[in-house]
């Protein structure tokens, strides 16, 4: 059967060319190459999200009256529903963590340099999409915490000049978070964002294959001094097996987290109830949430919240355009590293403050 299938496929698909290419493909192997695997782990978690998300879709009902009950049904009545939902939730969080680790490793190893500018841009856009997946998916169980956190989160959009209020209405499907918001965010979560993400992942992988793995400048310098110091490993099977090892370890971690710390469902959202104390967004938005809290009401006569949102917007645009702005000189690279360190410290400090609950 297999002996007949292979020629049939080879006649129609360029499988032989692809295998041949992969057989000859090599990957740099040096003291920093461990960081390469975060990209693969993020991809693996994205695949997990697609798989578990598709399974959840079989039972989930996107309406204010049925969403909570349908998730409750999934975790209590559907065989292994609890596992699928927990893996989906934990996998989402691990995916954000891996994506951040991948972005900062690429930043610190200067892998954004020519000719990989577009790889970097597509990567940053993918990270932003991952955060958008988190934001749109958070409300879907329609529980108390997610309801009020979404209200706070969408409120922030109102600070954008001119289009702010229109943007809030667009996100919410009305003046306040309601069943219309749920349906809208569900649409984004399962249709719009996955379509864009799939296209971007495809582009990102294509560019990675096109340009290969970047070698950090410090390793390049050593190679110039001693050509023997730079080693490579074949993509097949050396790199792929290591990747598989990392994916399996992530899978083991997901299974353990889902079993020992099943994702809570909480209580059903009541739009007419007062917001409970301690409402805060998911951990990856905490730094921004905390930074907004610490902003004064006005800054040089300008609305403080607007200044913070504008600064974050500039930061985002700056991150996307980094390869076009940063100079590929020792001084330019040092500036990028220190900017990255400051950003990382700022985000960590804000997150720690929010977790400690020390906000005034």
């Amino acid at each position: 059967m297999a002996s007949r299938l292979r020629p049939w496929l080879e006649e129609r698909l360029p499988l032989a060319d692809l295998l041949e290419t992969l057989r000859h493909k090599t990957v740099p192997h040096h003291r920093y190459s461990g960081w390469y695997y975060f990209g693969g782990m993020t991809l693996f978690l994205f695949a997990m999200q697609v798989g578990t998300g598709a399974l959840l879709l079989l039972y989930y009902r996107p309406s204010a009256t049925e969403a909570y009950e349908s998730v409750q049904f999934i975790v209590t009545r559907v065989p292994f529903g609890w596992l699928v939902r927990s893996i989906h939730a934990w996998s989402a969080n691990l995916m954000v963590a891996c994506a951040f680790a991948h972005l900062f490793s690429v930043l610190f190893l200067h892998a954004y340099r020519r000719p990989r500018e577009l790889t970097w841009v597509s990567g940053v856009l993918l990270l932003l999409l991952t955060l958008a997946f988190g934001f749109t998916g958070y409300l879907l169980p329609w529980n108390e915490v997610s309801f009020f956190a979404t209200r706070v989160g969408t409120d922030i959009a109102a600070t954008v000049p001119v289009i702010g209020h229109g943007l809030v209405r667009f996100l919410r499907g009305g003046n306040d978070v309601s069943g219309a918001t749920l349906t809208r965010l569900f649409g984004f979560h399962v249709a719009v964002l996955p379509a864009i993400a799939t296209a971007l992942v495809g582009l990102h992988l294509l560019l990675v294959q096109r340009h290969g793995m970047s070698v950090p400048p410090s390793v390049e310098r050593n190679r110039a001094a001693d050509p023997g110091v730079m080693r490579t490993i074949p993509f097949l099977p050396h790199f792929l097996l290591r990747d598989l090892f990392a994916w399996t370890a992530v899978l083991a971690m997901l299974a353990a987290l889902s079993t020992f710390y099943p994702w809570e469902l909480g209580t059903k959202a009541d739009p007419f109830a007062a917001a409970p104390a301690g409402i805060r967004p998911e951990w990856y938005f905490l730094w921004a949430f905390e930074a907004l809290k610490h902003m004064p009401s006005t800054l040089a006569g300008i609305d403080g919240e607007f200044v913070a949102v504008a600064a974050m917007g500039i930061m985002g645009i700056g991150a996307i355009l980094l390869p076009f702005m940063a100079r590929n000189t020792p001084g330019g690279r040092r500036l990028v590293v220190w900017t990255g360190i400051v950003m990382l410290l700022f985000m960590s400090a804000m997150t720690a403050l929010a977790l400690a609950g020390n906000t005034p």
Partner: protein, 400 residues
């Protein structure tokens, strides 16, 4: 002589001046307070109450016995009061005349309370205004000013009500801690304008205003006749007055410290029934406690036990019913409810136990899966170790 007259005039002027100043200050204070008075808001002026036959400018103060009739000239006039509030009551003065306060006042005893003692004088607020002395949160303090004062009450041959009694009650907790403004204060039981102590046989009617089911059960119970014959004040016999504490299951029983033991002992049918009632209450509470423990354990472990919580809530409602049924002073109706309550509690416990069992199964499954994954990781590791070492070749840049 002229000098003596001057000194005398000066002395009189000096003695009159402070009194004039004091009067002036009192008028100013009254005017200021009246600015926030509900009557001022309705367009009334000083002259509406300070009616003088001497013409404008004079402000005679009504005598204490004249205050209630003066207020009644408007507040008992339905046609007049309808202009301000179509649903306002106009029977306050009639009620006042039936009260202990009103009767004494009618007998020219000016020491008892009249309208202004409770509502204030120049800064009168609506009753539902939190600043009013008769607003739900303030009324017990207002009554307590007189009724909590032993010296004042002694004048009437009555004992003062200790101010802390009501504050320590379950009713005070409902009002102050939970903010339930429908919780009873002094006036809910004694009346407001028609304030009078409820008689021994009417106490159950007062309590029945809120505790409807308990009162129904009590009225048809054998205790009703016995209490009436003994002159016992019905509800108050067990629950006391003013300092009404949250009832406990331990009140039922023939052991020391229970309420029943004040009249009953272990002997006879009554002693046995009391013991059985207590056993039933304790049995249901124990079943609830066991169910709660296992449900809480399951919830802390991240399991969803909503069905169990529903059954648990049902069992709690049966417990509430069973505690109410104590007022039937009979075993049969109680048994029916406690049996159903215990069944619900056991159902809740079973859901919790099933969840814990499911958790064990999951963990065993995870242990097995982890072993398989670890074996796979180990195999991968061995495979990677056996691969040829990295070469010193240039990495492929254009792989595709």
């Amino acid at each position: 002589m002229r000098g003596t007259v001057r000194i005398a005039v000066a002395a009189i002027a000096l003695s009159v001046f402070p009194a004039t100043v004091r009067a002036q200050t009192a008028v100013e204070t009254a005017k200021s307070a009246f600015g926030e008075d509900v009557h001022a808001a309705a367009g009334l002026t000083c002259a509406a109450c300070h009616v003088s036959s001497r013409g404008a400018g004079a402000l005679p103060i009504p005598s204490r016995t004249a205050i209630a009739p003066l207020c009644a000239t408007c507040h008992s006039d339905a046609a007049y009061m309808r202009r301000f509030d179509p649903q306002v009551r106009v029977d306050q003065f009639l009620q006042y005349q039936t009260s202990v306060h009103g009767k004494r006042m009618a007998a020219d005893d000016e020491r008892v309370a009249t309208c202004t003692d409770c509502h204030g004088v120049h800064g009168i607020k609506r009753v539902n205004d939190a600043r009013s002395p008769v607003a739900p949160l303030n009324v017990t303090t207002t009554c307590g000013r007189c009724h909590g004062d032993p010296a004042r009450m002694k004048l009437f041959g009555r004992e003062a009500t200790p101010p802390g009694d009501w504050s320590a009650s379950v009713h005070a907790a409902a009002l102050i801690k939970r903010g339930d403004t429908s919780a009873p204060t002094c006036i809910a039981c004694h009346g407001s304008h028609g304030a009078t102590p409820p008689g021994v046989t009417s106490v159950a009617n007062v309590c029945a205003q809120c505790h409807v089911r308990e009162a129904e059960l009590f009225r048809v119970s054998p205790k009703k006749e016995i209490f009436d014959a003994l002159g016992e004040p019905e509800c108050l016999t067990c629950h006391r007055n003013h300092r009404i504490e949250p009832p406990q299951d331990t009140w039922v029983g023939v052991q020391e410290g229970s309420v029943c033991v004040e009249c009953h002992d272990e002997s006879g049918d009554s002693g046995m029934t009391i013991r059985r009632v207590r056993e039933e209450l304790d049995g249901l509470s124990a079943a609830l406690s066991n169910a709660d423990a296992v449900l809480t354990r399951a919830e802390r472990a991240g399991m969803l036990v909503d069905d169990g919580r529903t059954a648990f809530q049902e069992a709690r409602e049966y417990r509430v019913q069973s505690r109410v049924l104590v007022h039937a002073f009979a075993l049969a109706p109680l048994l029916k409810v406690t049996t159903e309550g215990t069944a619900s509690a056991r159902r809740a416990q079973q859901v919790g136990e099933a969840a814990m069992l499911e958790l064990q199964t999951r963990r065993r499954g995870l242990a097995l899966a982890t072993l398989v994954i670890l074996a796979f990781l180990g195999t991968l590791w061995l495979k990677i170790r056996r691969l040829p070492p990295p070469s010193s070749q240039q990495p492929t840049q254009r792989a595709m």
